[in-house]
Amino acid sequence: MGGSTIQAGGISRGRVVLLGSVIALLVGIVGVALQRETSRQSTVLSAPNAMRLCIASYFCGRRVSSQSAPGLAGAAEPAALTAEEEVYAESLWTVHSAAKAWAIGLDFAGLLYKTETRDAGKLSAKVQALSIQFAAAESKARAIDVPPSMHAVHEKYLAAIQLYENAAAEMLKTAQDGNDQRLLVAQGMSQHAAEEMLRVGDVLWPGEYKPN
């Protein structure tokens, strides 16, 4: 009789408990979602601020810690360079700064030959001068003190310089025999060299947030 009185008057006790559980579950889900959303947003928003730490120093060899910028494009943050590695990065930069400009010079020597001058003499003179520069860069790079932790990075860099030397040698053959296909072969080498240098740079000289 009591049971039938409850059922006749409204929702049963069992149903109340069930409804309460469902509501509690929904509240819990919303709470977890909100918590994850706010923590993700604060992580992402902190990334540009963390990158601006680089503005304060010319060398941004020190990485921001993973705690301050974990959301940076989803990539894992490498460890900060040690003092010894920073010195190495600074030394190699003196080689790299010039090598980069010579690499561009190599590209434009080929580009101008192909689109404007078709002058083998000019191509040869330009590329010959760059060849000498790359050889000097390789010697200078080999003379740098390399911390053991950076040996693999250094080998990668040296291999890139050698690729540029090979590219220059290939371009000189174009100047000798007029075979333009050699320029294409050389460009493949210089592209590969640029990719390897980018990877080295990613370790030693990280860039800064600047959309263009």
């Binding site: 680089c54 989803g74 980069k100 590209d107 580009l111 860039g207 959309p211």
Partner: protein
């Protein structure tokens, strides 16, 4: 007999001339009425860019109620134009390529260009022409993924790249991947691998070095916009059923900027030239609504009406159908 042969000769000559005239007329008529379809694809998105660094006249002022100064940061798409005119498939800009570059700039929602084209029902080898608005790293990447496309780049742009990257002063020749980056200085944005992309196209005989104005297909015209963003910036005028569109790359970084006459995304920019480039769009299209921006934050929303027919594609990147030529099927999924 002689009269018969003579008559035959005269008749044959007349037929040849007449067929030539009619073919020419027929061809001219078809080209004069070129109407293209156009889509926009988001190559990637720069996240949380301070509005003031994108548009100085929209800088954030804490506590301001002025809608021009109360937005702290914006997300900027990197837009690529896809244009189909008869059997020609033309891209305007080509996004960027290296994952390392994305990592440096906090970019998200990147999808490789070949995959984006596939999603629209095209193949990268279908692309016949690619016009780059300028040679920056987020606009001239992925050229090597378009094997049959001829690249169109201004001679002025190549001259400026060579000048900047070879300049003796290390601050002027600094690029984004250098220690400390670069601050809108002349070589900013011309990273080595992007230069390689352009150079590769030239060496493969798949590049046209443009000197000023050029019609790349009947009715589809390049207009120089030198120093409107970079030294050799260029625009692309495209006839469509909804009227002419003008793709502007970063000379038209902001649709609101064109509407409100404000500079945007100043890099190697002469602001006077950027305003003149805006005026060019008004003249060509009759207003600002059909000026296609490279980085407008309102892209793919109804607040930028020409891009409102939009959808979310791969990796959260967006696409929009701008105009459909007669007989062209919609590619909106």
């Amino acid at each position: 007999m002689r009269n018969l042969v003579g008559s035959l000769y005269r008749t044959g000559a007349f037929a040849l001339v007449a067929s030539g005239v009619f073919a020419g007329w027929g061809g001219t008529a078809a080209h004069a009425d070129t109407v293209c379809s156009a889509w926009l694809m988001e190559s990637s998105r720069f996240m949380h860019v301070p509005f003031g660094s994108f548009m100085p006249d929209r800088d954030f002022i804490p506590g301001s109620a002025d809608p021009k100064h109360n937005i702290q940061s914006v997300d900027l798409p990197v837009n690529i134009g896809v244009i189909k005119c008869d059997n020609e498939l033309i891209l305007f800009d080509s996004g960027w390529k290296q994952q390392e570059y994305h990592k440096m700039t906090g970019t998200e929602h990147f999808t490789p260009l070949p995959d984006q084209l596939n999603a629209l029902g095209f193949k990268p080898e279908d692309v016949t022409k690619v016009v780059i608005g300028h040679g920056h790293w987020d606009h001239a990447g992925q050229l090597s993924d378009l094997p049959n496309a001829t690249l169109y780049v201004q001679k002025e742009e190549l001259k400026a790249i060579e000048w900047a990257l070879n300049y003796p002063n290390p601050h002027i020749r600094a690029v984004n991947t250098d220690p400390g980056g670069c601050n809108r200085t002349p070589a900013c944005g011309y990273t080595p691998l992007t230069v390689e992309e352009i150079y590769g196209k030239v060496l493969k005989g798949k590049a046209v070095i443009v000197d000023g104005e050029m019609e790349v297909y009947p009715g589809v015209k390049i207009h120089p916009a030198f120093r409107a963003h970079t030294a050799g910036s260029q625009l692309l005028e495209v006839p469509t059923p909804i009227g002419k569109l003008v793709f502007g790359s970063d000379a038209y970084s902001s649709y609101e900027g064109i509407r409100d006459w404000m500079v945007a995304n100043i890099q190697q920019t002469d602001s006077v030239q950027q305003f003149l480039a805006y005026e060019q769009c008004y003249k060509i299209t009759g207003g600002y609504e059909h000026c296609i921006s490279a980085h407008e934050p309102l892209s793919y929303t109804d607040k930028y009406p020409v891009t409102a027919n939009s959808w979310v594609a791969m990796n959260g990147g967006r696409m929009a159908e701008l105009a459909l030529a007669p007989g062209e099927k919609s590619r909106h999924p």
